[in-house]
């Protein structure tokens, strides 16, 4: 294929440019998911910080009653899901930027993905238990 100077500058094939395609991987989805989870985390985090302030020095019974309240349980689950999703997306970028060995990179990405899912699942189940079993 003959590259025109303009094409070389764009680093894209004519077909790719016409179709508006990027690297054909999943960068756009990652970028968008990171922003949308960030936006959702704004009110969730503020609610959580406010809740923590009112829960300062709480005893077990007060905390269980608080976490088991319907609205609080829902917000806690939303917070945990969004927070760990956002953390996974962010850590992925950090790893991809700094870890250059393919094997280590793949290993660490899997570790972070499995780890965030594991901790998110534990936290969600804890909230459900407090909510349903009391």
């Amino acid at each position: 294929m003959i590259n025109t100077p303009q094409q070389t500058k764009k680093l894209q094939s004519k077909l790719g440019r016409v179709r508006g395609l990027g690297s054909t991987r999943e960068g756009v989805h990652h970028w968008w998911a990171q922003r949308m989870s960030a936006v959702a985390l704004l009110p969730l985090s503020l609610w959580f910080v406010y809740s923590l302030i009112t829960l300062t020095g709480t005893d077990y019974d007060t905390f269980v009653a608080w976490a088991g309240e319907f609205g609080n349980s829902v917000f806690l689950v939303l917070l945990v899901v969004t927070m760990f999703h956002h953390a996974q997306l962010g850590l992925q970028v950090v790893i991809e930027d700094y870890v250059h060995s393919e094997l280590w990179k793949m290993g660490m990405l899997l570790f972070v993905k499995y780890g965030t899912v594991l901790f998110a699942a534990s936290a969600i189940f804890a909230v459900l238990k407090l909510s349903i079993a009391g």
């Binding site: 704004l42 962010g90 950090v94 936290a123 804890a126």
Partner: protein, 131 residues
């Protein structure tokens, strides 16, 4: 790997530290710190699900001087990452790229996150009547 000894760029040490670059790396650092805060939140919730003894152990840990120091760090990390995150969302919408605006919003973010950190801790201590 064709050649492991290629020079790495950017050569960070030749650059004078600037508010833009320092705040940028701080966003990343606080993000990683907050991932650990998320782990602590999971542990805290799980301890309550385990029962009164486990929850009391968690509370003792968090109320110790070391626990408070960690929580203070987490609080600042959250507020900084949140405020600077809003700054990032502005950039995503193509707002605030001028150098003057970059610096001004950077200063605002630092002042806001420090203020919110102090304010929330004052409110927490006030809530338990230790103020």
């Amino acid at each position: 790997m064709p050649d492991d000894n290629r020079p790495l760029s950017p050569h960070l040490q030749v650059y004078r530290p600037q508010i833009t670059s320092m705040l940028s790396i701080l966003h990343r650092i606080t993000g990683v710190v907050l991932a650990f805060a998320a782990l602590l939140l999971a542990y805290w919730l799980a301890s309550a699900a385990y029962g009164p003894e486990a929850f009391a152990r968690a509370q003792d840990l968090l109320e110790s001087w070391f626990g408070r120091l960690v929580l203070l760090g987490f609080t600042f990390s959250l507020f900084y990452h949140m405020c600077n995150g809003i700054r990032h969302l502005g950039w995503d919408m193509l707002w605030g790229f001028e150098l003057s605006k970059l610096r001004a919003t950077g200063v605002v973010v630092v002042i806001a996150s420090l203020t919110l950190t102090v304010l929330s801790w004052l409110m927490a201590y006030g809530h338990v009547g230790k103020l």
